[in-house]
Assembly symmetry: C2
Homo-oligomer: 304 residues x 2
Amino acid sequence: MDHFEVNILGCGSALPTTKHALSAQVINLREKLYMVDCGEGTQLQFRKTKLNFNRLNQLFISHLHGDHCFGIPGLLSTLALLGRTGEIVIHAHPDAEKIFRPVLDYFCREMPYRVRFNSINPGAHALIYEDRIVKVYSIPLKHRVPSCGFLFEELPKSPHIIREMVDFYRIPFSLITSIKNGADFVTDDGMVIPNHRLTRPADLPKKYAYCSDTAYSEKIIPIIEKADLLYHEATFAQQDIARAKETYHSSAQQAAMIARKAQVKQLFIGHFSARYPDENILLQEAREIFPQTTVATEYLKIKL
Amino acid sequence: MDHFEVNILGCGSALPTTKHALSAQVINLREKLYMVDCGEGTQLQFRKTKLNFNRLNQLFISHLHGDHCFGIPGLLSTLALLGRTGEIVIHAHPDAEKIFRPVLDYFCREMPYRVRFNSINPGAHALIYEDRIVKVYSIPLKHRVPSCGFLFEELPKSPHIIREMVDFYRIPFSLITSIKNGADFVTDDGMVIPNHRLTRPADLPKKYAYCSDTAYSEKIIPIIEKADLLYHEATFAQQDIARAKETYHSSAQQAAMIARKAQVKQLFIGHFSARYPDENILLQEAREIFPQTTVATEYLKIKL
Protein backbone atom coordinates (compact mmCIF):
# COMPACT_ATOMS: atom_id res chain seq x y z
CA MET A 1 0.00 0.00 0.00
CA ASP A 2 2.93 2.27 -0.66
CA HIS A 3 1.11 4.82 -2.70
CA PHE A 4 0.83 8.57 -3.02
CA GLU A 5 -2.24 9.57 -4.93
CA VAL A 6 -3.84 12.95 -5.58
CA ASN A 7 -7.63 12.88 -6.08
CA ILE A 8 -9.11 15.93 -7.75
CA LEU A 9 -12.58 16.58 -6.32
CA GLY A 10 -13.08 19.98 -7.90
CA CYS A 11 -11.07 22.27 -10.16
CA GLY A 12 -13.43 25.09 -11.08
CA SER A 13 -13.06 28.67 -9.92
CA ALA A 14 -15.43 30.91 -7.97
CA LEU A 15 -18.46 30.55 -10.23
CA PRO A 16 -19.53 26.92 -10.17
CA THR A 17 -20.59 25.46 -13.49
CA THR A 18 -22.36 22.29 -14.45
CA LYS A 19 -18.94 21.04 -15.57
CA HIS A 20 -16.62 21.84 -12.67
CA ALA A 21 -17.00 21.54 -8.92
CA LEU A 22 -15.31 23.96 -6.55
CA SER A 23 -11.73 23.58 -5.31
CA ALA A 24 -10.97 20.47 -3.29
CA GLN A 25 -8.51 17.60 -3.40
CA VAL A 26 -7.85 14.54 -1.31
CA ILE A 27 -4.30 13.25 -1.04
CA ASN A 28 -4.15 9.55 -0.28
CA LEU A 29 -0.83 8.68 1.27
CA ARG A 30 -0.64 5.02 2.22
CA GLU A 31 -4.40 5.07 3.02
CA LYS A 32 -4.24 8.16 5.20
CA LEU A 33 -6.26 11.00 3.64
CA TYR A 34 -5.37 14.68 3.66
CA MET A 35 -7.81 17.19 2.22
CA VAL A 36 -6.73 20.40 0.54
CA ASP A 37 -9.43 23.07 0.25
CA CYS A 38 -13.11 22.38 0.67
CA GLY A 39 -15.44 24.37 -1.58
CA GLU A 40 -19.20 23.97 -1.40
CA GLY A 41 -20.24 20.46 -2.40
CA THR A 42 -16.91 18.83 -1.50
CA GLN A 43 -18.52 16.18 0.69
CA LEU A 44 -20.59 15.04 -2.28
CA GLN A 45 -17.56 14.89 -4.54
CA PHE A 46 -15.67 13.05 -1.79
CA ARG A 47 -18.44 10.49 -1.57
CA LYS A 48 -18.28 9.89 -5.29
CA THR A 49 -14.60 8.93 -5.05
CA LYS A 50 -15.52 6.06 -2.70
CA LEU A 51 -12.60 7.02 -0.45
CA ASN A 52 -13.21 6.26 3.21
CA PHE A 53 -14.29 9.38 5.14
CA ASN A 54 -12.90 7.85 8.33
CA ARG A 55 -9.35 8.04 7.08
CA LEU A 56 -9.47 11.80 6.81
CA ASN A 57 -7.87 13.65 9.72
CA GLN A 58 -6.19 16.74 8.32
CA LEU A 59 -7.77 19.53 6.32
CA PHE A 60 -5.60 22.25 4.75
CA ILE A 61 -7.27 25.48 3.61
CA SER A 62 -5.31 27.68 1.22
CA HIS A 63 -7.26 30.88 1.79
CA LEU A 64 -10.58 32.20 2.99
CA HIS A 65 -12.52 32.72 -0.20
CA GLY A 66 -15.86 30.93 -0.22
CA ASP A 67 -15.08 28.70 -3.18
CA HIS A 68 -12.25 27.14 -1.16
CA CYS A 69 -13.96 26.69 2.20
CA PHE A 70 -17.79 26.86 2.15
CA GLY A 71 -17.92 23.06 2.18
CA ILE A 72 -16.39 22.82 5.66
CA PRO A 73 -19.59 22.95 7.78
CA GLY A 74 -21.36 20.35 5.66
CA LEU A 75 -18.40 17.99 5.59
CA LEU A 76 -17.92 18.19 9.34
CA SER A 77 -21.67 17.69 9.98
CA THR A 78 -21.63 14.59 7.82
CA LEU A 79 -18.60 13.19 9.64
CA ALA A 80 -20.56 13.65 12.88
CA LEU A 81 -23.58 11.80 11.43
CA LEU A 82 -21.25 8.99 10.38
CA GLY A 83 -20.26 8.58 14.02
CA ARG A 84 -16.69 9.77 13.76
CA THR A 85 -14.81 10.03 17.06
CA GLY A 86 -11.25 11.00 16.09
CA GLU A 87 -10.18 14.64 16.06
CA ILE A 88 -10.13 16.64 12.82
CA VAL A 89 -7.52 19.36 12.44
CA ILE A 90 -8.13 22.31 10.13
CA HIS A 91 -4.94 24.10 9.13
CA ALA A 92 -5.94 27.58 8.01
CA HIS A 93 -5.60 31.32 8.42
CA PRO A 94 -6.50 32.38 11.98
CA ASP A 95 -9.79 33.93 10.78
CA ALA A 96 -11.09 30.48 9.83
CA GLU A 97 -11.75 29.61 13.45
CA LYS A 98 -13.46 32.97 14.08
CA ILE A 99 -15.80 32.40 11.18
CA PHE A 100 -16.50 28.69 11.33
CA ARG A 101 -16.45 27.97 15.06
CA PRO A 102 -19.77 29.78 15.69
CA VAL A 103 -21.33 27.92 12.75
CA LEU A 104 -20.15 24.56 14.10
CA ASP A 105 -21.19 25.46 17.64
CA TYR A 106 -24.67 26.25 16.41
CA PHE A 107 -25.26 23.43 13.96
CA CYS A 108 -23.23 20.63 15.49
CA ARG A 109 -24.11 21.01 19.14
CA GLU A 110 -23.60 17.34 19.88
CA MET A 111 -20.41 16.71 17.98
CA PRO A 112 -19.02 13.24 18.74
CA TYR A 113 -15.50 14.36 17.85
CA ARG A 114 -13.28 17.37 18.30
CA VAL A 115 -12.51 19.96 15.61
CA ARG A 116 -9.23 21.73 16.21
CA PHE A 117 -8.06 24.73 14.20
CA ASN A 118 -4.33 25.07 13.65
CA SER A 119 -3.65 28.69 12.78
CA ILE A 120 -1.12 29.11 10.04
CA ASN A 121 0.56 32.21 8.70
CA PRO A 122 0.06 32.11 4.93
CA GLY A 123 2.85 34.66 4.52
CA ALA A 124 5.54 32.30 5.85
CA HIS A 125 7.14 29.20 4.39
CA ALA A 126 6.95 26.91 7.41
CA LEU A 127 6.44 23.33 8.49
CA ILE A 128 2.79 23.24 9.50
CA TYR A 129 2.15 19.52 9.94
CA GLU A 130 4.13 16.34 10.33
CA ASP A 131 3.38 12.70 10.98
CA ARG A 132 5.23 9.45 10.37
CA ILE A 133 4.83 9.56 6.64
CA VAL A 134 4.70 13.16 5.52
CA LYS A 135 5.70 16.73 6.27
CA VAL A 136 3.48 19.53 5.04
CA TYR A 137 4.89 23.00 4.44
CA SER A 138 3.08 26.22 3.62
CA ILE A 139 4.00 27.98 0.38
CA PRO A 140 3.34 31.74 0.51
CA LEU A 141 1.28 32.79 -2.49
CA LYS A 142 0.24 36.14 -3.93
CA HIS A 143 -3.50 36.72 -3.91
CA ARG A 144 -6.10 39.34 -2.95
CA VAL A 145 -6.35 37.85 0.54
CA PRO A 146 -3.63 35.96 2.46
CA SER A 147 -3.18 32.67 0.62
CA CYS A 148 -0.76 29.79 0.74
CA GLY A 149 -0.13 26.61 -1.15
CA PHE A 150 0.95 23.34 0.46
CA LEU A 151 3.97 21.18 -0.15
CA PHE A 152 3.52 17.52 0.78
CA GLU A 153 6.90 15.94 1.26
CA GLU A 154 7.09 12.25 2.06
CA LEU A 155 9.58 11.29 4.74
CA PRO A 156 12.48 9.10 3.65
CA LYS A 157 11.30 5.53 3.33
CA SER A 158 12.85 2.30 4.55
CA PRO A 159 14.85 0.26 2.06
CA HIS A 160 13.23 -2.86 0.65
CA ILE A 161 14.24 -6.16 2.20
CA ILE A 162 15.28 -8.71 -0.44
CA ARG A 163 13.03 -11.61 0.35
CA GLU A 164 15.31 -14.24 -1.21
CA MET A 165 18.22 -13.22 1.03
CA VAL A 166 16.05 -13.43 4.14
CA ASP A 167 15.06 -16.96 3.16
CA PHE A 168 18.58 -17.97 2.18
CA TYR A 169 20.17 -16.87 5.46
CA ARG A 170 17.11 -17.77 7.53
CA ILE A 171 17.08 -14.30 9.05
CA PRO A 172 14.68 -14.24 12.01
CA PHE A 173 11.68 -11.93 11.71
CA SER A 174 12.74 -10.04 14.86
CA LEU A 175 15.77 -8.66 13.03
CA ILE A 176 13.97 -7.31 9.97
CA THR A 177 13.32 -3.85 11.40
CA SER A 178 16.96 -3.31 12.36
CA ILE A 179 18.07 -4.47 8.90
CA LYS A 180 15.60 -2.06 7.32
CA ASN A 181 17.25 0.60 9.46
CA GLY A 182 20.71 -0.32 8.12
CA ALA A 183 22.08 -3.17 10.28
CA ASP A 184 24.19 -5.97 8.80
CA PHE A 185 23.34 -9.60 9.56
CA VAL A 186 25.72 -11.97 11.32
CA THR A 187 25.19 -15.68 10.67
CA ASP A 188 25.52 -18.35 13.38
CA ASP A 189 29.05 -19.11 12.17
CA GLY A 190 30.07 -15.47 12.45
CA MET A 191 29.90 -14.45 8.78
CA VAL A 192 28.86 -10.82 8.32
CA ILE A 193 26.38 -10.18 5.51
CA PRO A 194 26.56 -6.47 4.76
CA ASN A 195 23.31 -4.54 4.70
CA HIS A 196 23.57 -3.60 1.02
CA ARG A 197 23.35 -7.31 0.06
CA LEU A 198 20.14 -7.71 2.08
CA THR A 199 18.29 -4.66 0.87
CA ARG A 200 17.43 -2.66 -2.20
CA PRO A 201 17.51 1.13 -1.84
CA ALA A 202 14.33 2.76 -0.66
CA ASP A 203 12.02 4.46 -3.15
CA LEU A 204 12.73 8.14 -3.35
CA PRO A 205 10.29 10.13 -1.22
CA LYS A 206 7.78 12.02 -3.34
CA LYS A 207 6.93 15.71 -3.33
CA TYR A 208 3.61 17.27 -4.26
CA ALA A 209 2.97 21.01 -4.42
CA TYR A 210 -0.52 22.60 -4.49
CA CYS A 211 -0.48 26.27 -5.51
CA SER A 212 -3.90 27.93 -5.70
CA ASP A 213 -5.00 30.73 -5.67
CA THR A 214 -2.12 32.91 -6.77
CA ALA A 215 -0.80 35.45 -9.21
CA TYR A 216 2.49 34.61 -10.92
CA SER A 217 5.12 34.49 -8.20
CA GLU A 218 8.68 33.32 -8.72
CA LYS A 219 9.22 33.33 -4.98
CA ILE A 220 7.65 29.90 -4.76
CA ILE A 221 10.19 28.34 -7.14
CA PRO A 222 12.86 27.35 -4.57
CA ILE A 223 10.19 25.79 -2.38
CA ILE A 224 8.57 23.61 -5.03
CA GLU A 225 11.78 22.84 -6.94
CA LYS A 226 11.89 19.37 -8.52
CA ALA A 227 8.51 18.36 -7.12
CA ASP A 228 7.13 15.17 -8.65
CA LEU A 229 3.84 16.95 -9.23
CA LEU A 230 2.76 20.56 -9.22
CA TYR A 231 -0.90 21.58 -9.24
CA HIS A 232 -0.94 25.25 -10.17
CA GLU A 233 -3.95 27.41 -10.79
CA ALA A 234 -4.47 28.57 -14.37
CA THR A 235 -7.63 30.58 -14.12
CA PHE A 236 -7.16 32.48 -17.37
CA ALA A 237 -5.92 32.19 -20.93
CA GLN A 238 -3.36 34.66 -22.21
CA GLN A 239 -6.05 36.75 -23.93
CA ASP A 240 -7.38 37.60 -20.46
CA ILE A 241 -4.03 38.36 -18.85
CA ALA A 242 -5.20 41.82 -17.75
CA ARG A 243 -8.04 40.22 -15.81
CA ALA A 244 -5.58 37.74 -14.28
CA LYS A 245 -3.43 40.60 -12.99
CA GLU A 246 -6.41 42.49 -11.66
CA THR A 247 -7.74 39.51 -9.72
CA TYR A 248 -4.36 38.08 -8.62
CA HIS A 249 -4.77 34.90 -10.60
CA SER A 250 -2.46 33.18 -13.09
CA SER A 251 -2.69 32.41 -16.76
CA ALA A 252 -1.93 28.92 -18.05
CA GLN A 253 1.33 30.23 -19.52
CA GLN A 254 2.36 31.60 -16.17
CA ALA A 255 1.62 28.29 -14.44
CA ALA A 256 3.77 26.55 -17.07
CA MET A 257 6.57 29.06 -16.61
CA ILE A 258 6.65 28.32 -12.89
CA ALA A 259 6.69 24.58 -13.61
CA ARG A 260 9.58 24.98 -16.04
CA LYS A 261 11.65 27.22 -13.80
CA ALA A 262 11.06 24.93 -10.81
CA GLN A 263 11.93 21.88 -12.94
CA VAL A 264 8.99 19.87 -11.63
CA LYS A 265 8.30 16.48 -13.20
CA GLN A 266 4.71 17.19 -14.17
CA LEU A 267 2.19 20.00 -14.01
CA PHE A 268 -1.57 19.82 -13.59
CA ILE A 269 -3.48 23.02 -14.18
CA GLY A 270 -6.84 23.83 -12.59
CA HIS A 271 -9.12 26.50 -11.09
CA PHE A 272 -10.54 27.28 -14.50
CA SER A 273 -12.60 30.37 -15.11
CA ALA A 274 -16.14 29.57 -16.17
CA ARG A 275 -15.64 31.69 -19.29
CA TYR A 276 -13.83 28.90 -21.21
CA PRO A 277 -16.21 26.25 -22.48
CA ASP A 278 -13.18 24.12 -23.36
CA GLU A 279 -9.91 24.09 -21.41
CA ASN A 280 -7.89 23.08 -24.47
CA ILE A 281 -6.97 26.69 -25.00
CA LEU A 282 -5.33 26.68 -21.56
CA LEU A 283 -3.67 23.33 -22.12
CA GLN A 284 -2.15 24.39 -25.43
CA GLU A 285 -0.82 27.63 -24.04
CA ALA A 286 0.78 25.82 -21.11
CA ARG A 287 2.26 22.99 -23.19
CA GLU A 288 4.11 25.40 -25.44
CA ILE A 289 6.15 26.29 -22.40
CA PHE A 290 6.02 23.10 -20.35
CA PRO A 291 5.07 19.98 -22.33
CA GLN A 292 4.41 17.75 -19.29
CA THR A 293 1.19 19.63 -18.58
CA THR A 294 -2.22 18.02 -18.05
CA VAL A 295 -5.65 19.56 -17.47
CA ALA A 296 -7.15 18.59 -14.11
CA THR A 297 -10.65 17.11 -14.16
CA GLU A 298 -13.03 16.01 -11.46
CA TYR A 299 -12.50 12.46 -10.11
CA LEU A 300 -9.04 12.24 -11.64
CA LYS A 301 -6.61 10.15 -9.58
CA ILE A 302 -2.97 11.06 -10.14
CA LYS A 303 -0.53 8.42 -8.89
CA LEU A 304 2.96 9.60 -8.00
CA MET B 1 -47.07 33.00 -18.61
CA ASP B 2 -49.73 32.20 -16.07
CA HIS B 3 -47.98 29.29 -14.46
CA PHE B 4 -47.22 27.95 -11.03
CA GLU B 5 -44.42 25.44 -11.08
CA VAL B 6 -42.51 23.71 -8.30
CA ASN B 7 -38.92 22.73 -9.17
CA ILE B 8 -37.36 20.11 -6.93
CA LEU B 9 -33.63 20.83 -6.57
CA GLY B 10 -32.94 18.34 -3.80
CA CYS B 11 -34.99 15.84 -1.81
CA GLY B 12 -32.46 13.89 0.24
CA SER B 13 -32.14 14.09 4.01
CA ALA B 14 -29.16 15.05 6.19
CA LEU B 15 -26.67 12.57 4.75
CA PRO B 16 -26.12 13.45 1.12
CA THR B 17 -25.88 10.55 -1.27
CA THR B 18 -24.76 10.25 -4.83
CA LYS B 19 -28.47 9.97 -5.69
CA HIS B 20 -30.09 12.83 -3.81
CA ALA B 21 -29.10 16.44 -3.25
CA LEU B 22 -29.99 18.28 -0.06
CA SER B 23 -33.31 20.03 0.50
CA ALA B 24 -34.13 22.91 -1.85
CA GLN B 25 -36.93 23.90 -4.18
CA VAL B 26 -37.64 26.80 -6.48
CA ILE B 27 -41.21 27.88 -7.00
CA ASN B 28 -41.73 29.61 -10.32
CA LEU B 29 -44.81 31.79 -10.18
CA ARG B 30 -45.34 33.70 -13.42
CA GLU B 31 -41.53 33.95 -13.83
CA LYS B 32 -40.88 35.21 -10.34
CA LEU B 33 -38.79 32.69 -8.38
CA TYR B 34 -39.15 31.85 -4.69
CA MET B 35 -36.68 29.46 -3.08
CA VAL B 36 -37.60 27.15 -0.23
CA ASP B 37 -34.65 25.80 1.76
CA CYS B 38 -31.08 25.88 0.55
CA GLY B 39 -28.93 22.89 1.50
CA GLU B 40 -25.28 22.66 0.49
CA GLY B 41 -24.93 22.49 -3.28
CA THR B 42 -28.24 24.24 -4.02
CA GLN B 43 -26.64 26.83 -6.30
CA LEU B 44 -25.31 24.01 -8.48
CA GLN B 45 -28.69 22.31 -8.64
CA PHE B 46 -30.30 25.67 -9.38
CA ARG B 47 -27.90 26.19 -12.27
CA LYS B 48 -28.80 22.83 -13.72
CA THR B 49 -32.48 23.83 -13.91
CA LYS B 50 -31.56 26.71 -16.25
CA LEU B 51 -33.87 28.98 -14.26
CA ASN B 52 -32.74 32.61 -14.22
CA PHE B 53 -30.91 33.46 -10.96
CA ASN B 54 -31.90 37.10 -11.41
CA ARG B 55 -35.56 36.33 -10.93
CA LEU B 56 -34.99 35.05 -7.42
CA ASN B 57 -35.78 37.55 -4.68
CA GLN B 58 -37.24 35.63 -1.76
CA LEU B 59 -35.68 32.76 0.15
CA PHE B 60 -37.68 30.83 2.74
CA ILE B 61 -35.82 28.65 5.25
CA SER B 62 -37.86 26.05 7.12
CA HIS B 63 -35.42 25.48 9.98
CA LEU B 64 -31.80 25.82 10.92
CA HIS B 65 -30.39 22.37 10.30
CA GLY B 66 -27.37 22.36 8.02
CA ASP B 67 -28.98 20.25 5.30
CA HIS B 68 -31.59 22.98 4.81
CA CYS B 69 -29.38 26.08 4.88
CA PHE B 70 -25.64 25.46 4.35
CA GLY B 71 -26.02 26.49 0.71
CA ILE B 72 -26.93 30.08 1.59
CA PRO B 73 -23.42 31.65 1.66
CA GLY B 74 -22.42 30.05 -1.64
CA LEU B 75 -25.64 31.02 -3.39
CA LEU B 76 -25.41 34.63 -2.20
CA SER B 77 -21.72 34.85 -3.20
CA THR B 78 -22.56 33.62 -6.67
CA LEU B 79 -25.39 36.14 -7.03
CA ALA B 80 -22.83 38.83 -6.14
CA LEU B 81 -20.40 37.54 -8.79
CA LEU B 82 -23.23 37.61 -11.32
CA GLY B 83 -23.62 41.32 -10.67
CA ARG B 84 -26.97 41.26 -8.95
CA THR B 85 -28.20 44.58 -7.60
CA GLY B 86 -31.70 43.90 -6.27
CA GLU B 87 -32.26 43.04 -2.62
CA ILE B 88 -32.62 39.42 -1.48
CA VAL B 89 -34.85 38.68 1.50
CA ILE B 90 -34.26 35.61 3.65
CA HIS B 91 -37.30 34.60 5.69
CA ALA B 92 -36.06 32.47 8.55
CA HIS B 93 -35.81 31.89 12.27
CA PRO B 94 -34.15 34.90 14.00
CA ASP B 95 -30.94 32.91 14.59
CA ALA B 96 -30.32 32.74 10.84
CA GLU B 97 -29.14 36.34 10.78
CA LYS B 98 -26.90 35.82 13.83
CA ILE B 99 -25.21 32.88 12.17
CA PHE B 100 -25.02 33.90 8.53
CA ARG B 101 -24.51 37.67 8.77
CA PRO B 102 -20.91 37.34 10.05
CA VAL B 103 -20.16 34.82 7.30
CA LEU B 104 -21.54 37.16 4.64
CA ASP B 105 -19.76 40.15 6.15
CA TYR B 106 -16.47 38.29 5.99
CA PHE B 107 -16.73 36.63 2.60
CA CYS B 108 -18.83 39.11 0.66
CA ARG B 109 -17.26 42.38 1.74
CA GLU B 110 -18.14 44.13 -1.48
CA MET B 111 -21.66 42.92 -1.98
CA PRO B 112 -23.37 44.77 -4.87
CA TYR B 113 -26.80 44.09 -3.37
CA ARG B 114 -28.46 44.01 -0.01
CA VAL B 115 -29.34 40.88 1.95
CA ARG B 116 -32.20 41.40 4.39
CA PHE B 117 -33.29 38.87 6.96
CA ASN B 118 -36.97 38.75 7.81
CA SER B 119 -37.30 37.03 11.18
CA ILE B 120 -40.19 34.65 11.36
CA ASN B 121 -41.64 32.78 14.29
CA PRO B 122 -41.84 29.15 13.20
CA GLY B 123 -44.28 28.44 16.02
CA ALA B 124 -46.98 30.71 14.59
CA HIS B 125 -49.23 30.36 11.56
CA ALA B 126 -48.83 33.83 10.08
CA LEU B 127 -48.62 35.73 6.83
CA ILE B 128 -44.90 36.25 6.32
CA TYR B 129 -44.71 37.57 2.78
CA GLU B 130 -47.02 39.05 0.20
CA ASP B 131 -46.68 40.53 -3.26
CA ARG B 132 -49.03 41.10 -6.18
CA ILE B 133 -49.28 37.43 -7.05
CA VAL B 134 -48.86 35.39 -3.90
CA LYS B 135 -49.22 35.28 -0.14
CA VAL B 136 -46.87 33.06 1.84
CA TYR B 137 -47.88 31.76 5.25
CA SER B 138 -45.82 29.87 7.80
CA ILE B 139 -47.05 26.43 8.87
CA PRO B 140 -45.86 25.47 12.37
CA LEU B 141 -44.24 22.03 12.28
CA LYS B 142 -43.04 19.63 14.96
CA HIS B 143 -39.30 19.00 14.87
CA ARG B 144 -36.22 18.87 17.13
CA VAL B 145 -35.58 22.56 16.47
CA PRO B 146 -38.14 25.27 15.63
CA SER B 147 -39.36 24.43 12.13
CA CYS B 148 -42.09 25.64 9.82
CA GLY B 149 -43.46 24.79 6.46
CA PHE B 150 -44.69 27.32 3.93
CA LEU B 151 -48.05 27.74 2.25
CA PHE B 152 -47.95 29.54 -1.09
CA GLU B 153 -51.37 30.88 -1.88
CA GLU B 154 -51.93 32.64 -5.17
CA LEU B 155 -54.01 35.80 -4.99
CA PRO B 156 -57.36 35.74 -6.81
CA LYS B 157 -56.77 36.24 -10.50
CA SER B 158 -58.54 38.46 -12.97
CA PRO B 159 -61.23 36.93 -15.16
CA HIS B 160 -60.32 36.22 -18.79
CA ILE B 161 -61.53 38.71 -21.35
CA ILE B 162 -63.36 37.05 -24.24
CA ARG B 163 -61.45 38.29 -27.22
CA GLU B 164 -64.32 37.81 -29.69
CA MET B 165 -66.62 40.06 -27.64
CA VAL B 166 -64.00 42.80 -27.47
CA ASP B 167 -63.70 42.67 -31.25
CA PHE B 168 -67.47 42.51 -31.82
CA TYR B 169 -68.29 45.54 -29.66
CA ARG B 170 -65.06 47.34 -30.58
CA ILE B 171 -64.27 47.85 -26.91
CA PRO B 172 -61.40 50.33 -26.58
CA PHE B 173 -58.20 49.02 -25.00
CA SER B 174 -58.40 51.65 -22.23
CA LEU B 175 -61.48 49.93 -20.79
CA ILE B 176 -60.06 46.41 -20.60
CA THR B 177 -58.70 46.75 -17.07
CA SER B 178 -62.00 47.98 -15.66
CA ILE B 179 -63.85 45.16 -17.42
CA LYS B 180 -61.39 42.67 -15.95
CA ASN B 181 -62.27 44.20 -12.61
CA GLY B 182 -65.98 43.61 -13.16
CA ALA B 183 -67.33 46.63 -15.09
CA ASP B 184 -70.04 46.27 -17.72
CA PHE B 185 -69.61 47.87 -21.15
CA VAL B 186 -71.95 50.51 -22.54
CA THR B 187 -72.06 50.84 -26.31
CA ASP B 188 -72.30 54.21 -28.13
CA ASP B 189 -76.06 53.73 -28.51
CA GLY B 190 -76.47 53.08 -24.78
CA MET B 191 -76.80 49.31 -24.76
CA VAL B 192 -75.38 47.74 -21.62
CA ILE B 193 -73.35 44.55 -22.17
CA PRO B 194 -73.15 42.85 -18.80
CA ASN B 195 -69.71 41.85 -17.56
CA HIS B 196 -70.48 38.13 -17.54
CA ARG B 197 -70.93 38.22 -21.32
CA LEU B 198 -67.52 39.82 -21.81
CA THR B 199 -65.48 37.58 -19.53
CA ARG B 200 -64.90 34.00 -18.53
CA PRO B 201 -64.35 33.32 -14.82
CA ALA B 202 -60.80 33.59 -13.55
CA ASP B 203 -58.76 30.43 -12.97
CA LEU B 204 -58.96 29.35 -9.39
CA PRO B 205 -55.94 30.52 -7.42
CA LYS B 206 -53.57 27.66 -6.58
CA LYS B 207 -52.24 26.55 -3.21
CA TYR B 208 -48.94 24.79 -2.55
CA ALA B 209 -47.83 23.57 0.88
CA TYR B 210 -44.22 22.61 1.76
CA CYS B 211 -43.95 20.66 5.02
CA SER B 212 -40.42 19.56 5.95
CA ASP B 213 -38.96 18.71 8.43
CA THR B 214 -41.68 17.46 10.75
CA ALA B 215 -43.05 14.63 12.83
CA TYR B 216 -46.67 13.67 12.19
CA SER B 217 -48.76 16.67 13.20
CA GLU B 218 -52.50 16.97 12.61
CA LYS B 219 -52.36 20.61 13.61
CA ILE B 220 -51.26 21.50 10.10
CA ILE B 221 -54.38 20.00 8.49
CA PRO B 222 -56.65 23.07 8.66
CA ILE B 223 -53.86 25.22 7.21
CA ILE B 224 -53.06 23.06 4.21
CA GLU B 225 -56.61 21.88 3.58
CA LYS B 226 -57.49 21.30 -0.09
CA ALA B 227 -54.09 22.45 -1.30
CA ASP B 228 -53.46 21.66 -4.96
CA LEU B 229 -50.11 20.18 -4.00
CA LEU B 230 -48.55 19.07 -0.75
CA TYR B 231 -44.84 18.29 -0.44
CA HIS B 232 -44.47 16.43 2.83
CA GLU B 233 -41.34 14.84 4.21
CA ALA B 234 -41.33 11.04 4.36
CA THR B 235 -37.90 10.33 5.77
CA PHE B 236 -38.67 6.79 6.89
CA ALA B 237 -40.55 3.64 5.97
CA GLN B 238 -42.96 2.10 8.47
CA GLN B 239 -40.34 -0.45 9.56
CA ASP B 240 -38.31 2.44 11.00
CA ILE B 241 -41.19 4.24 12.71
CA ALA B 242 -39.37 4.20 16.06
CA ARG B 243 -36.48 6.10 14.50
CA ALA B 244 -38.96 8.55 12.94
CA LYS B 245 -40.43 9.31 16.36
CA GLU B 246 -37.03 9.67 17.96
CA THR B 247 -35.80 12.14 15.33
CA TYR B 248 -39.10 14.02 14.84
CA HIS B 249 -39.48 12.92 11.26
CA SER B 250 -42.42 11.31 9.42
CA SER B 251 -42.95 7.99 7.75
CA ALA B 252 -44.39 7.79 4.25
CA GLN B 253 -47.65 6.48 5.72
CA GLN B 254 -47.88 9.46 8.03
CA ALA B 255 -47.29 11.88 5.15
CA ALA B 256 -50.09 10.14 3.25
CA MET B 257 -52.40 10.27 6.26
CA ILE B 258 -51.92 14.04 6.46
CA ALA B 259 -52.60 14.35 2.72
CA ARG B 260 -55.80 12.32 3.03
CA LYS B 261 -57.12 14.14 6.06
CA ALA B 262 -56.32 17.52 4.52
CA GLN B 263 -57.96 16.44 1.23
CA VAL B 264 -55.14 17.82 -0.87
CA LYS B 265 -55.20 17.13 -4.61
CA GLN B 266 -51.78 15.52 -4.81
CA LEU B 267 -48.91 14.59 -2.54
CA PHE B 268 -45.19 14.54 -3.28
CA ILE B 269 -43.01 12.85 -0.70
CA GLY B 270 -39.34 13.69 -0.15
CA HIS B 271 -36.48 14.11 2.35
CA PHE B 272 -35.61 10.44 2.03
CA SER B 273 -33.28 8.76 4.46
CA ALA B 274 -30.11 7.48 2.79
CA ARG B 275 -30.88 4.00 4.15
CA TYR B 276 -33.36 3.19 1.37
CA PRO B 277 -31.63 2.37 -1.90
CA ASP B 278 -35.01 2.50 -3.61
CA GLU B 279 -37.86 4.80 -2.58
CA ASN B 280 -40.51 2.43 -3.93
CA ILE B 281 -41.01 1.07 -0.44
CA LEU B 282 -41.99 4.58 0.67
CA LEU B 283 -44.17 5.17 -2.37
CA GLN B 284 -46.10 1.94 -1.89
CA GLU B 285 -46.70 2.58 1.78
CA ALA B 286 -47.99 6.07 1.03
CA ARG B 287 -50.17 5.06 -1.91
CA GLU B 288 -52.05 2.52 0.19
CA ILE B 289 -53.39 5.45 2.14
CA PHE B 290 -53.33 8.23 -0.45
CA PRO B 291 -53.20 7.04 -4.06
CA GLN B 292 -52.33 10.44 -5.55
CA THR B 293 -48.80 10.19 -4.18
CA THR B 294 -45.60 10.68 -6.19
CA VAL B 295 -41.94 10.34 -5.19
CA ALA B 296 -40.02 13.59 -5.56
CA THR B 297 -36.82 13.48 -7.60
CA GLU B 298 -34.17 16.02 -8.44
CA TYR B 299 -34.94 18.33 -11.39
CA LEU B 300 -38.62 17.40 -11.36
CA LYS B 301 -40.92 20.25 -12.43
CA ILE B 302 -44.41 19.98 -11.04
CA LYS B 303 -46.95 22.20 -12.82
CA LEU B 304 -50.03 23.20 -10.87
